[in-house]
Amino acid sequence: MFNLKTITFDQIKTSSIALEFDELIPDEIYSWTEADFAKYQVPIGNSRFPITDFFDITVVGEANGPDDVEMILNGDLNRVKYIGCKMSGGKILCNSSVDLHVGAEMSGGSILVKGDAAAHAGREMSGGYLEIEGNTKEFTGASYIGEWRGMTGGEIVVGGNAGKQCGECLTGGKIHVKGNCDILAGIHMTKGIIEIDGDVNRWPGGQMKNGNIIIHGFLGRLLEGFVLDGIVVDPEVDGITFEGKYIKYTGDIGLNGKGNLYLGAEANKEKLAEYGELDDEYTSIREYRNL
């Protein structure tokens, strides 16, 4: 996308209490001038302070809408949260690690984080593209606490590792974790794809009703509610082909789930006594009953 307007935030001061950037999204500020920013007060805790106390802001170019805007955030953003929250267009580049809720509820546009992200990255996003080059903490692409509808569309790419409950309540879209993933990835998911290149600690897909989880690396512990479906080669999932040999499970049968869990066969050799059979430790409920 060709950006007509670049808004650069150069940090001059940090805050121990997080700045909340949910009002500073391309949708809201595409027409702002430097003078407008000079008047703006950013929420911090239960108060507001001039944004210019914390950032030098430079505006270059013109924009007719949010899609014409690129925001560039420079400095230490570890105490800046809600970056890109609810944005529907435009681009945001964060040149450091960021705080909570980056890209939460975004419906369009793109965000690139050149660092780590705290919890709730991409929470409930419905569209757009969020890339985090480093690691993410808990609830990447998940639902809000208590909510049963998580991410519904768009794509999240995590270059490093993802924390607990990545993709919780996923109801659409795709999450790609290039590193390892902590427990309960895809818990309660009903749709969408979670692809994990690295290893998974344990219990992916707990209570999943539908959707697909692809784990290329080693899985520590599979939940009891997953039933061995067989060995598949080059499976196609939602139009995407994953090359190689996978052990395929379906579950979570505790909820009559019809989700699919693909485990890279190479990385999970010890689970294969021979094709189609599992070690006792990983015997599913149904197989156990059939013994």
């Binding site: 639902s143 809000y144 606490i145 208590g146 909510e147 049963w148």
Partner: protein, 572 residues
């Protein structure tokens, strides 16, 4: 001396048979008067609707269910968030608003009194603490008796005197207003993983039927001359085919005679709440249909029953009720999260989120049945406007319901343009009902009727000597055509121009300008003190053995109820 004149408003005051007359309403020191001095402040409300402040006869606004609901539905609390102002605290929540938001939003709607419809006596302290944190409105609370172990024992023996003494004592203990019955015997059965189906099922281990409990409590209610009748949530809520149970429940008390003193105000001996949920035909949701015509016909022919509707608003909301087995059934249907709580020896409650969608045939059926009841019950004094907040939708949707009631065109639009499922046309009589409420009838179902049904003698009318609880709406009845301007009707009732509570102007120019402390209204029965003590003495060993709290910690002490309104009743 604070004196005011509301000048040139168009007044709807059904209790005084004032129907759209242009007149002044005067009040002084918090009381409606028929004359004020020349110093009175004039509030120009020319050609705007003036009504008594609204009275919600059945809502769930305070108590443990609300708190659990907020705790386990944080996703609801993030809706409707506002920042604090110089006058207001911040608000949050949609179907389960925070306590301040509950009061503010009712006040914006022009309401002054809201009945908390279910208070377990064991949790009464908590309920009153919460009432104290809800501003702007007066809140009577209805203690639950329908699954109380002592009540069931007395009912089994047909011991009406002891039930009356027990109720009299428990109203004092819980600072309650009247007798609430929820799924009699069914919530107790839930403690054993069961339910009762129909009025002739017995509670396990108690050898007493739902019908016996209801009749006994109705007789006790009238023996005590309570201002309100028994207030019942019948068995089988939400089950296809439940209308026969509802009819049997209503018919069970047909021969119960009203208390001599209560009869002066109210007509009924039973108030059935959220009737819409009890008006289904069929054997399952596949063949379910509307029994609204049958129930409306019964109410039209019988003066001893009043009802409120529990109108579905087609929103995402939270259901919460002391009908725990029904909530479990709902959970099995929806698969959404569920919470359950047993209140020892008294009742059991459940809570689940619920999404009422116009695309869903069952939800549409429920929506249509509610409207059928409103339109089919001929006497507006026998039906009240409720959503059983938050069960069928939040009370903030009352203006929308009013717009549906006043506009056949809007109802037909919804059915014809696909806003609601075709079941509304195929399985209900709604398309054939072209009745449209007028402002007088709206004032009746939302003010005058609830006041009469509850036996209030100080509110619900613009009678001199009554509390100055008044609402003014920016709607000119001479210029608007509600039938064709449903959206304007909804907008007009959404925020009152003025809300006046006890003579204090809380809302002015559609903005809250003042916050007032709420007051609990409770009934103090006189003349039964000796009987009460006898009953308490009799049950004390059982109480000590089975309750997890000490008797000394059970009653609601005065400091839990700041600034109450006590209604003294001569019970003999």
């Amino acid at each position: 001396m604070m004196e005011y004149i509301l000048k040139n408003g168009i007044v709807y005051d059904p209790a005084n048979e004032v129907n759209g007359e242009k007149m002044d309403v005067m009040f002084k020191d918090g009381i409606i008067v028929d004359d004020v001095s020349a110093d009175a402040e004039v509030l120009d409300v020319t050609d705007k609707i003036v009504m008594p402040a609204g009275i919600d006869p059945h809502a769930h606004v305070a108590g443990p269910k609300l708190v659990v609901g907020r705790l386990y539905r944080p996703e609801d609390s993030r809706r409707g968030v506002t920042q604090k102002t110089k006058v207001l605290r911040s608000e949050s929540g949609f179907s389960i608003p925070s306590c301040p938001a509950t009061g503010y939003r009712y006040s914006r709607l022009g309401y002054g009194t809201v009945v908390e419809a279910a208070m377990p006596p064991l949790e009464a302290k908590h309920t009153h603490e919460e009432i104290a944190t809800i501003p702007m409105i007066d809140i009577p609370a209805m203690p639950l008796f329908g699954n109380n172990w002592f009540v069931m024992e007395y009912a089994k023996d047909n011991n009406i005197e002891d039930i009356a003494a027990f109720v009299s004592a428990w109203l004092k203990i819980s600072k309650g207003y009247g007798i609430k019955i929820v799924n009699p015997c069914g919530s107790e059965a839930w403690g054993w993983g069961m339910n009762v189906h129909g009025v002739n099922d017995k509670a396990p281990y108690f050898d007493v039927t739902s019908k016996e409990v209801v009749i006994a409590l109705a007789k006790a209610n009238e023996m005590l001359n309570l201002p309100h009748s028994i207030h019942i949530h019948p068995n089988d809520l939400g089950h296809p085919g439940n209308y026969t149970t509802t009819l049997e429940t209503m018919d069970a008390v047909k021969d119960v005679k009203k208390g001599s003193k209560a009869a002066e105000i109210r007509d009924q001996v039973m108030h059935v709440c959220h009737l819409q949920f009890h008006a289904y035909t069929g054997n399952s949701w596949k063949d379910a249909g509307s029994a609204a015509p049958e129930l409306a016909d019964y109410i039209n022919k019988n003066k001893h029953v009043t009802c409120d509707v529990g109108q579905v608003t087609l929103d995402e909301t939270t259901t919460m009720t002391a009908d725990a087995p029904m909530e479990y059934d709902l959970f099995k249907l929806s698969g959404l999260k569920w919470t359950n709580k047993d209140i020892e020896c008294e009742t059991a409650a459940g809570i689940i989120p619920c999404i009422y969608s116009g695309k869903n045939p069952v939800n549409t059926l429920q929506w249509a049945i509610g409207l059928e009841l409103f339109l089919g019950i001929e006497n507006p004094w026998q039906v009240c406007l409720t959503t059983d907040h938050p069960n069928a939708g939040p009370y903030t949707r009352y203006p929308r319901i009013i717009s549906w009631l006043m506009s056949n065109q809007r109802r037909m639009e919804m059915m014809e343009n696909g806003e609601v499922h075709k079941w509304a046309q195929r399985r209900t009589t709604l398309p054939t009902l072209d009745r449209e409420y007028d402002f007088y009838e709206i004032a009746t179902i939302s003010r005058a009727a609830p006041a009469r049904i509850y036996g209030f003698t100080d509110r619900g009318a613009l009678t001199p000597g009554y509390r100055a609880d008044i609402a003014v709406y920016d709607i000119n009845p001479n210029e608007i055509d509600p039938s064709r301007q449903a959206a304007e009707i909804e907008k007009g009732f959404n925020v009152a121009e003025y809300t006046i509570k006890d003579g204090q102007i809380l809302v002015k120019d559609k903005e809250i300008v003042k916050v007032k402390e709420s007051q609990n209204i409770w009934v103090n029965v006189k003349g039964w003190e000796q009987n009460e003590q006898k009953v308490i003495n009799n049950i004390m060993p059982f109480f000590t053995q089975y309750y997890s709290v000490k008797w000394e910690n059970y009653p609601v002490h005065d400091h839990y109820v700041s600034n109450p309104i006590r209604i003294d009743v001569d019970g003999k």
